[in-house]
């Protein structure tokens, strides 16, 4: 990679980044442009990947080598396209049926394993601890027993919350209420742990912008930043009705 393509790359990357960031200020033509370009590029990218990385090695190459089996899935795939011809569009049902059958068949045993049995086996523990033949009532052991109790009560109450065929009143209501509290703890924990990743990303992006500020990249960031800000100021002054403000 030579210098020119590297610098051009930095300018393009910085420009597009700033265009997207401008959406935080308001919807504007720069964002609209980047948005449409983005959609277009991803479609082009998908199309190319499809042809070279999927259809090439999966259909063209085996056929060239004399293996005829890929013809069947190819026909099924072409079945989707019959949707454009109302008379033949029922053919697409067979393609849908294949895909749905395949994925349903895949779901059943794996859902039972990874979400059902795996969750179950991690919950069934004794509520008491025994150490060297005697029941252990020391603080750590009791703490462990308590943890197991919370786990079991939590799981049972959450499952009760998800009961749809029983009216939630009386003891069921109380239990499902406990279940909701457990779910809230879960949501809070999930929120708290996600924050980290989001800021890491933002840091990474701003760091790249900061890197592109230097002479090596011909001052891509400061120049483009000034241009974007100027554009927004002019755009606001010229096209924005006073009613839209604030």
């Amino acid at each position: 990679m030579n210098d020119f393509t590297m610098v051009l790359g930095a300018w393009v990357a910085t420009g597009l980044t700033l265009c997207i960031f401008s959406f935080l200020y308001e919807d504007n033509p720069l964002f609209k442009m980047a948005e449409h370009l983005y959609i277009g590029v991803t479609i082009g990218y998908s199309l190319t990947s499809l042809i070279f990385n999927s259809m090439g090695p999966n259909i063209y190459e085996p056929l060239k080598a004399g293996r005829l089996l890929p013809i069947l899935p190819t026909l099924l795939g072409l079945g989707f396209l019959t949707r454009f011809f109302p008379k033949w569009s029922w053919l697409s049902r067979i393609s849908f049926a294949f895909v749905m059958g395949y994925s349903s068949g895949l779901t059943i045993p794996t859902a039972i394993v990874s979400q059902f049995l795996k969750q179950l086996e991690g919950t069934v523990y004794p509520l008491l601890t025994r150490k060297q033949g005697l029941l252990d009532f020391s603080l750590p052991a009791l703490g462990h027993d308590f943890t197991v109790l919370v786990l079991v009560v939590g799981l049972l109450s959450v499952l009760i919350y998800f009961f749809f065929s029983v009216e939630h009143k009386g003891p069921v209501k109380a239990a499902s209420k406990v279940g909701i509290y457990f779910i809230m703890v879960y949501l809070g924990a999930a929120f708290g742990t996600t924050v980290m990743g989001r800021f890491s990303l933002l840091y990474g992006r701003l760091f790249d912008l900061y890197t592109y500020r230097g002479a090596k990249y011909h001052y891509a960031t400061p120049v483009l930043l000034v241009l974007v800000v100027l554009f927004l100021v002019v755009y606001d002054a010229k096209y924005k009705k006073p009613a839209d403000a604030a």
């Binding site: 959406f23 919807d27 964002f31 980047a34 948005e35 983005y38 959609i39 590029v41 991803t42 479609i43 990218y45 998908s46 989707f80 949707r83 697409s92 849908f96 895909v99 749905m100 395949y102 994925s103 349903s104 779901t107 059943i108 045993p109 039972i112 394993v113 990874s114 059902f116 049995l117 795996k118 179950l120 086996e121 919950t123 069934v124 523990y125 004794p126 509520l127 008491l128 601890t129 025994r130 029941l135 079991v152 799981l155 049972l156 499952l159 009760i160 998800f162 009961f163 749809f164 065929s165 029983v166 009216e167 939630h168 779910i183 879960y186 949501l187 809070g188 999930a190 929120f191 996600t194």
Partner: protein, 439 residues
């Protein structure tokens, strides 16, 4: 262990599975001469070669592993190490190292298989060795060659100063037709499928009760509001394709909501990230409009495709939201990081937002930013709730029965395990609980 035997027999009989007998204690290899020491013994403390060495096909696998086992030796201790050597050429090598471990580890009992498929004892060492890993084979040709070859194995015991090698034994790794350890999974699956189908077939007979789902009562309000304001309603089906359960549930909800929207002259917009989902949703929406008696109001561009890329799709939907200011947004299905991007922009244009997702990691964001959120299974129940279709309600009944079974199993399991600790039969309880483990 009478109960366990009984259990395993019943289960096996139920399925006409291959006899569990093949999993019983490994038979000693006839050819091996157990007492022959490979080297002259130098000192009193010297090791003798391991006894009762046997090489067998590892049961319940695709023929990629061999099982090497031998008797527990009197000198088993942390300082003494066993090295298992494998050869695919001849009983004299060349040898590839299969495993090294302290001699007081890796007994039959340490192999993680359930009681109905494997006898857990401590009187024999046993290691299952993957041939491709052991021989470092990565290419198809090598793998194919390995499959047909007889595998020779020998075990060397060493304590740092002396070592003793056993004579070689051989085995052929073969493919098996049923994975007995997964029997419990199979039985549960079958049982649950039957329950669901039974409830569905019985659902039509009587009206089944269903509890309230608050978020869904707001659907009518949201549609009404959009009609009053003359603004569109957005419906998003999530980031997975139609072959995922979340998206199927979402499309059912779309059908019900579309029926209600069709009665007003409100614009519905369903941007898609997968073409297959779009095609299915087109059919569903069309059907809904005609069922509502408004086939004339249906337009082919209610459902439209944007792109498969996660964030390009999000950028486009965000842009549309800001420009068209929808009165209501529905987010049903499975979502990833884009959830918050969508809902924050939706909130900023003042839309009523109703979300439903089984993506547990995105639920907090929906819960915080949306007016109503359906959590987990409520997403699947929503279709049934809105339509009161007997088939859907019956399915839900089946799911509830499944949950009741789980609760009972956990409750009984915990009581049993606690009693086990109280009265000292932990081992028996642990063995029994293997019924609820995944293998």
């Amino acid at each position: 262990m009478k109960a366990s035997t009984l259990f395993s027999i019943t289960m096996a009989a139920l399925l006409l599975a291959p006899p569990a007998a093949r999993a019983a204690a490994a038979k000693p290899a006839g050819k091996a001469a157990p007492t022959a020491a490979a080297k002259p013994a130098p000192a009193a403390s010297a090791l003798s070669a391991v006894q009762g060495l046997a090489a067998d096909d590892m049961p319940y696998d695709a023929g990629s592993e061999v099982l090497i086992s031998w008797k527990a030796m009197p000198y088993d201790a942390p300082a003494v190490k066993y090295t298992v050597h494998l050869s695919s050429i001849s009983r004299d090598g060349p040898w590839a190292q299969g495993a090294v471990f302290p001699s007081d580890t890796k007994y039959r009992a340490d192999i993680d298989l359930p009681f109905w498929a494997w006898k857990k004892t401590k009187d024999r060492h046993a290691v299952a060795l993957n041939l491709e890993t052991a021989f470092g084979v990565d290419d198809e040709v090598g793998k194919k060659r390995l499959r047909g070859s007889v595998i020779y194995a020998k075990v060397v015991a060493s304590d740092g100063t002396s070592e003793a090698a056993s004579p070689a034994v051989s085995a052929l790794a073969t493919s098996d037709w049923f994975s007995l350890p997964k029997l419990n999974n199979f039985v549960f699956t079958l049982l649950f499928c039957c329950i669901v189908l039974w409830f569905i077939s019985n659902a039509r007979k009587k009206d089944l009760f269903m509890r309230r789902i608050p978020g869904l009562d707001a659907v009518e309000d949201a549609i009404g509001r959009a009609t009053e304001m003359g603004r569109p309603i957005y419906f998003l089906t999530g980031r997975l394709d139609i072959d995922s359960i979340s998206t199927i549930a979402s499309s059912l909800i779309l059908g019900e909501i579309a029926k209600r929207i069709a009665q007003y002259d409100t614009q519905l917009k369903v941007p898609h990230t997968y073409a297959m989902t779009m095609a299915v949703c087109q059919e569903i929406t069309k059907q809904a409009y005609s069922e509502a008696g408004r086939p004339d109001a249906y337009r082919e561009d209610i459902n439209f495709f944007i792109t498969e890329d996660q964030f390009a799709y999000t950028a486009a939907v965000n842009g549309m939201m800001v420009r068209e200011k929808p009165a209501a947004c529905f987010y049903m299905g499975y979502y990833y990081a884009e959830s918050l991007l969508l809902t924050e922009v939706g909130a900023s244009v003042g839309a009523i937002q109703i979300a439903g997702s089984d993506a547990e990691h995105q639920l907090p964001f929906f819960f915080i930013t949306c007016d109503y959120t359906l959590i987990g299974e409520e997403l699947y129940a929503a279709g049934a709730y809105l339509s009161r279709d007997p088939v859907l309600v019956g399915t839900l009944r089946g799911q509830d029965t499944g949950k009741a079974f789980v609760m009972l199993a956990i409750f009984a399991g915990v009581i049993l395990a606690t009693c086990g600790v109280l009265f000292g039969f932990e081992h028996g309880v642990q063995t029994f609980l293997e019924v609820f483990k995944s293998y």
